[in-house]
Subunit: 545 residues, 2 copies
């Protein structure tokens, strides 16, 4: 027997309807790509998004078609998302920081029919446009006055483009499982993989993200998403912020410390979110200028592990609560946030920081488990680490055009992370499963060893990989880049580590290199390192043979 | 094209799974019907709910079957809900405060197969059991030691009943639109009507209810639902509280001021919710004892309009924020909450109270409009009032076994309330549409007139109804009950009202009566009054003829 409640599909464009109705005049402020600060409102954004939708239809864009955006966080970018969503087409955020060849690969794989891009990226696009045969038209997010001369096909200034329709248009309605958005993972190995969000998953994820134990945002907040919308579905901020009607402040292309500080201060931002690198720039700028952060209440830090010193500085020096978060493109992307449950709420000082080094607990709608390689569930004791697997309505079940089963028998997705979970459900990432060293059936965390090694005063960067060992299967090899002008021996480094980790975790050897290879997004390319040291013979291997 | 996100139906029992996993040891405390305080946890509640599910199956209860509960807020009542939900059966909360004939009608209409009831209601049930042929078994929510001798069919003590299974059981999974719960409206006219919630509507509604601008509850809160679970789906507290993992304190049968105060104080309750009558008792008790409310942060007041003096007392005297709320059984039930948007956040004193007299704004997932009788949408100016209509995924589209279209052409449900909406989207109920007086095509609010009349020092209670008028169609008649021993004339009363309302709103006549008729739930029975004064001849009618 079915219930007798209304059929009201969870459609993303209902979010901008809600904001435009109940928070009509709430300010939406952008540092524009052209330079000046531009202020608009949710009501105005909805009006213009309707024009985008109408204009897309006029250009022949249909439900299911992919429309690429390569753009900073601006009001125009937000309008294009909702316009695309409102006709059942799919926004495909393209990360401009990828290598040009990767961008070409992604756009062709997605078969994007249109590219909506910021001025910033016109030169890049002109270079690769010849290799993007599916793109029929380029819309540049600017007005006629700033429109450059360009060779891009059917190029038009956004303001001119939407001025060609009258906005007398109504959103389409359709199944909430309809594809809404697309984002390719920038993994360290293999081809990029396309994650395809649905309207349902985006709306449910926005609910999960806005809850008091997650981001806890409300209409009285002023939200500054520094994390770009092209980074993992913009951490839901393009949805959860209008859902609750908070003011929205957007940094456009300027993510440096001084520019971000200016926005935080001028618009009395209460909530912001970005990766650690951005906050490092902000904290350095504050250090230099001696300014403080009187309005900012909370900062979400994710994308990679947040350094302890950063959490401490935000909280102790500036009175800003740090919410350490974890997620991935395949999870829409939020998986967990480190807000305080009653069990930890009374902690202070270093004990509180210990908890905050964890990536936290998931909201209702994300299930987690850790397992060994055979899929056996491991205990939540805060020590045992295993493959982290997740399940939920905003978690991917497949990749675009990839006929490959990515879920286990219980429907869980393997995140590729290795983690512990403590008795209160706080998860902490200890490694990537590709990088963990499997020694005699036990696991050694490469990240723990790296973090320890970089604590040595002469070490600039460290990477740990597993190399073949005849007896233990794999043993850790420590790869070191020394600080400029410094000298150190294998014995210096190992001597420093001795006693600070279990004896069987100690690297079997240390090699010194000039440089460690990185991906476009700054991650260590361990695959390259593993290739380079494929035939490396550990001194301990000889002894074992 | 569909998205590629996981199929994860929104099932209510996933909520207790989440609570039992991530908030396993959070205290759930009840003042038991037997007397003592009983403490359990979400983990234990889930374990025992699994036993309920397994035991229900053993008794032959199948998906879609209705299982009635007539019970106070207790841990056992919560266990039965989740147990019933976990096999796809339907919890049907029966309001024990209804007249016995109404209860008989409702249980027969629902065709409940089982009745799970508190000790309190055994005598009542024994009286009507002969007229409840569909009930195959009575489960009494107690243990063997407290089980009374009873004539109820197949009666068994709950603890004995669930002890007959081992709990080795897994929840069923099914379509999220499956019926989950049932609650009959206790309208003032006609037969009761059954609202049938789905798993999806309950889960989405819990998300909406928990958002920071709604109840804003989090795992660090201690939540005391004074509003009974049998009142309008328990205002979602049986779902939204475990969803966020807050501690749960339940009052059992004792809702008097002293008993509620004891729980608020002992368990450091931060959040509570109930109708104004309950809070009147609490405030009177506090006045008498001189106690204060050092832990309580927020109180949700709904069910009927919250008096201004009550809001003022809670806030000014006890430092507790009042959240005025509105909803109805057909809305799961929350429709709007009066939390402060930035436009009003800086208000203090009487200006803030003016806003707090409104019932507030809806979360994402509730759409509102006000219309005239012809269905034309009316402006949101805070003055114009019209029929309040709502739409959303947790709003009813039909009643159980009633083949009757209850939505307008745009899918909106007419709430039967008359309301204004201000430019910021704050709704204020001004009347019931049945009760509004339609004078010459314009509407007069009966509630406004009643509120004004009871301001007269000699008036105990007032009711206003429309009576036929040859020229104006309807004109207001004021019905007055004077305070004991007081005397007043028509001219006294009208003189008091003169100048405080528009001239054309003034009642055309005043009649004095000994008593005004009420329903079982304490609402004025205007239908009875209208019947009594059907042929009443207004003095102004004669003049017009």
């Amino acid at each position: 027997m079915l219930g007798l409640m209304q059929d009201w599909p969870l459609l993303c464009h209902r979010i901008i309807d809600h904001a435009a109705t109940y928070h009509a005049e709430r300010p939406v402020v952008t540092r524009s790509v052209e330079g000046p600060i531009v202020t608009t409102t949710y009501a105005r954004i909805r009006e213009r998004a309707l024009k985008v939708a109408q204009r897309l239809e006029k250009d022949g864009i249909k439900a299911g078609d992919r429309v690429a955006t390569m753009a900073w966080n601006t009001w125009r970018h937000l309008e294009t998302w909702y316009g695309i969503l409102g006709i059942g087409a799919v926004y495909h955020t393209v990360n401009p920081r990828l290598f040009p060849d990767q961008i070409v690969w992604i756009v062709n794989h997605a078969e994007d029919r249109m590219m909506i891009a910021d001025l910033t990226f016109v030169p890049l696009l002109e270079k690769i446009a010849g290799r993007l045969p599916t793109i029929e038209r380029y819309v540049i997010l600017t007005d006629a006055a700033h429109m450059p001369k360009t060779t891009l096909k059917n190029a038009v200034a956004y303001e001119d483009w939407i001025a060609e329709v009258d906005g007398d248009f109504a959103w389409k309605s359709f199944d909430e499982n309809t594809a809404a958005g697309m984002c390719y993972t920038s993994g360290t190995t293999g081809e990029p993989k396309g994650v395809l969000y649905s309207h349902r998953s985006n709306v449910l994820h926005a609910f999960m993200a806005a809850l008091p134990d997650s981001k806890g945002i409300k209409s009285r907040d002023v939200v500054l998403p520094v994390v770009p919308f092209f980074h993992a579905n913009g951490w839901s901020l393009a949805f959860s912020t209008p859902m609750v009607g908070a003011a929205l402040i957007m940094p456009g292309p300027k993510l440096d410390g001084a520019s971000i500080y200016e926005l935080l201060n001028t618009y009395k931002v209460t909530f912001t979110a970005a990766v650690p690198t951005v906050w490092l720039m902000l904290l350095q700028d504050l250090e230099k200028t001696g300014a403080d952060l009187p309005y900012l209440e909370r900062v979400v830090i994710g994308g990679s592990a947040c350094p302890r010193a950063m959490t401490k500085t935000f909280q102790d020096k500036y009175g800003v609560e740090v919410i350490h978060a974890w997620g991935m493109t395949e999870m829409s992307p939020l998986g967990s946030l480190c807000t305080m449950k009653p069990e930890y709420a009374a902690l202070t000082g270093e004990a509180r920081l210990d908890v905050q080094m964890k990536q936290g607990h998931p909201p209702f709608g994300v299930e987690m488990k850790i397992t060994d390689d055979a899929g056996k569930t491991l205990p939540w004791d805060g020590k045992t680490f295993g493959r982290l697997k997740v399940r939920g309505p905003a978690v991917a079940k497949a990749y675009f055009k990839l006929d490959q089963d990515i879920l286990d028998d219980d429907g869980f997705f393997d995140t590729g992370d290795v983690a512990t979970i403590d008795p209160y459900g706080y998860m902490q990432v200890t490694d990537r499963s590709k990088d963990v060293i499997k020694s005699g059936g036990e696991w050694i965390s490469s990240i723990d060893l790296e973090n320890l090694a970089v604590g040595h005063p002469k070490v600039a960067e460290a990477a740990v990989i597993g190399v073949h060992h005849p007896k233990w299967d794999e043993r850790p090899l420590l790869v070191i880049v020394l600080k400029k002008g410094e000298q150190a021996s294998k014995e210096d480094i190992l001597g420093f580590m001795q006693g600070r980790i279990a004896k069987w975790w100690m690297p079997d050897d240390v090699v010194f290199v000039d440089e460690i290879p990185h991906t476009a997004t700054g991650k260590i390319q361990k695959t390259v390192l593993r290739d380079r040291f494929r035939d490396y013979r550990l001194p301990t291997a000889e002894a074992a043979e």
